[in-house]
Each structure stands twice: as C-alpha cells, then as structure tokens.
Subunit: 130 residues, 4 copies
C-alpha cells in the first residue's frame, strides 16, 4: 500500500543555492502524510476534536539529489509499522525515477498534555497497516 502525492516546487521554497531548502522537505512529507490519511478516509479533525493528536517523535531523512523551482515531484508514503499509539512511515520523494530524498518518520498519538495515549477505537491507525 503506497500512496503518492504529486507536488510542484514553489519558487519561495528554494534557498539561496536555488535548491529546495532541506527543511522544506520536512513540510512536504507532512503534507503527503495528511493526503495519505485523507485518501484513506481517516478523520484527522475528529481525532483532534476528541482531544488527541499525532506528533513526530523521530525523523531520519537522507537527501539524495537537489530539487528546483517548478520541479514536479511525487511523494510516496507507505505505512511500515502501525501500532495503537505509535508507528512508522517510509516516504520517498522522487522526480521521475530520481530519488530526491527518503525518510523514516516515527509518529506517536498524544493527548492534550502531550503524553502518549491510546486514541478512541474509531481513530485506531492500525487499520491503515499494510
């Protein structure tokens, strides 16, 4: 199960080298994960309304090749481990066949105090597992 988000690089996302700034990819990855959740019908706003949200606990990203303004990218998002309270996504950013960046994203559900917490059953992310 691999979801793909298409995305075109906007000019303001590039830094003084004319490359997409390396922090911007972290935004791209978040955007793609939300698109993945939407595509699967996961009600993220419902989770927030229920007093929970997800946080990123660890992000390990390797930058393979630069991307430039107007590049048409594809972001692959794949749930690698999905447990009740935490899990792991693999994500790859490509331009055509070229890998721009790849990342492991560890997430965790927390309550309003920021503590890891089991969300209500309706928001169990395990049903997104491969």
């Amino acid at each position: 199960m691999k979801h793909v988000t298409p995305l075109t690089v906007r000019p303001y996302e590039c830094d003084s080298y004319g490359h997409v700034n390396h922090a911007v990819y972290v935004n791209y990855l978040e955007h793609a994960r939300m698109q993945f959740l939407h595509a699967l019908g996961f009600d993220y706003k419902g989770l927030v309304a229920a007093g929970f949200f997800t946080v990123i606990s660890r992000l390990d990203i390797s930058y393979r090749s630069p991307a430039f303004a107007d590049d048409e990218l594809a972001i692959e998002t794949e749930p690698a481990e999905m447990r009740r309270v935490s899990g792991l996504f693999h994500q790859v950013i490509r331009r055509g066949e070229a890998v721009i960046a790849q990342a492991d994203i560890h997430w965790c559900v927390v309550d309003g105090n920021g503590r890891p917490a089991r969300p209500p059953e309706a928001y169990d992310l395990r049903r997104l597992a491969p």
Copy 2:
C-alpha cells in the same frame, strides 16, 4: 514611543536571489510587534486565554532595499492609532541608516468566532497609544 527589535537574518530566510524573501519580512514585523507588546507588559497570552485575539486586517509594505544573510537589522515599531477594537502600527526595517522596508499594519481584536469584538478592559490596547 518607538520600540526597536534587533534581528539577524538567518540563512534559510533568503531565497534563490540570496535576498531575504519578501514574505519573510511579514514574519519579522509580527515578531517585532510581539516584542513591542512584551516590552510594554501587555499580557497577550492572557488576551488569548480570555477568548480573544488580534488579527491583521490590512498590511501595506514597501520594499526599499534588499537584505542578506547575517545582516543585522533593526525593526522600529510605533503605534500610530490605537482604538478599543482596532488600530494601526507603523513599522520600519533598517540596516544601519538604510531603510529595507516600511509598513502600515492595521489590526483588529476578534472573538473566538473571528468577529471584531471589544476585549476586556485589562487588554485595552489604547493604553499603548502615543
């Protein structure tokens, strides 16, 4: 009454021309207004806790000269009009004597529904007037 916030340009704030991106100045101006409010002892978090916040209704900014990574800037913030529910700040961003940008910022207090609303007396911004 003119408040000055010093600020050093960070490299990631520059775009592919090597200049501070024009949207970043809007962030700088917001930062400087918050520093101004802090300096005057205005309890912004209290205003939010009371169910109100301020929004920008209009921003008119003129860009005079580019700024670059590591530039040491000074942002002048001056309350020009302060009414109960709305007002106007003049702000100027300088590098030494040179004007980088200058702006008129119109703000408004709104309630939790985003409608203009009179905040509690303790948060009356008129006391910040010249």
Copy 3:
C-alpha cells in the same frame, strides 16, 4: 485576462490559531504570479539567465476572512498595469465565493545590482497587458 491558480492549504501553513498565517498568503500570491507567467509562456528562467529579475516594490494586502487546513482556494491573478520596467497585479484569494484576501502587487525589473532596468525585448512584460 484573469488567471486562476487552484491551491489546497497545507497543515504546516496554519499558525497557532489554526488559520493560515498572514505571511503565508504572500507566498501563495508569488506562487500564483509564477503560474500566471508560466501559463502565458513567459520564460522567467530566461530573464534570470539574461541577468535580470523581478522584485516586489510594494504589496498592499487586505485580509477578509480566515482560511484553514485543507481549504481549497483559488487565486485570481490579473495584470492591471504592465510597463517596460514595472507594473501592477491585482490578486484575489477566494474559497468558493468568499474573499479570503485581496492584494495589489507592484513589481519592477532589476538588473544584477538590484537597480531598475529595462529587460531585453523578449522579456517585455507589456505583452502580458490586458
């Protein structure tokens, strides 16, 4: 002649009020102007390769209504005045019929030293005029 760029709000573009941060709209507007230039076949990278680029000299934006994560926006871009070295765009950001923000954007062509300069004929923006 009015160009429309569709755009979906990404979650990281929202600030602690859950609204699109007011500086982010400035990015949106730049993105939409570039999409407008691309749609008309204007070779912006050629202009840069020729030693010129465009800068924003003034931006006057009014914020009418907040936008939120996942909102589907449409950005209208209309060239209002197009002279050899400078000009003016009107831009409106909408969600359905609602106006989120509207702006006047004054631009100018500059040379590598940042001084206003006439670009080569092939990059004359007057041909984009209404």
Copy 4:
C-alpha cells in the same frame, strides 16, 4: 568544543497545536551551525565565492518535548567528525535542562555541480574538529 546559540521562539514558528512546527527545528539547527562557523572565524561566504558549498546529506532528529512561542532555547552544536569533504555535527536544542530535540547532521562539501568535492585548503573544515 561545544558552541551554544541562544534563540527565542517567534510566534509564527508555531503551528496549529501551538507548538514549534517540527520542520522549524531544522531551520534552527542550520542557523546554529552557521553561528558556530562564524564564531570560529570560518569564512563561509568565501567558500561559496570559491565555487563550493555545503549540503546536508542526512539528518536524524528526535523530538523529545514541545517548545512554545517566546520560549528561550539554547542550541548546542558540536562537531563530531570533520573530514575534508564531509562530516557530522551533533546538535541539541534545550530549554533550560529539558531537551527539546537532538539531531545528527551529516554534511558534505560539493562543487557548483552538486558533486562532492575537496574545497581549497583555506576552507578545510577539519581544523574545526575537536
């Protein structure tokens, strides 16, 4: 050898949870590395003028605790491995004793074509080694 950059969280760096957005820390870390290089008298602009620059090849960041608007943070930067063409920084973001985030940053010197390349001797980062 550990360099410390102080930094105050700006309101626009927080997302809809009221936390510093996780991508913003990547910007903070870059800022702190540049401050470290400046403090050691490393002429980064000279490196760029000589036709080289540094890129991040991998970033592995763990998020320990959220940070909020106005928080006063300290970013520790420590060169862990410094070779001629590549190296590794350890960085820790703290608020008082609390660890907000910690990261391993792998960097590499590249030439104008983006290929790993040995910079001129004057820009040999090995002299920054512990």
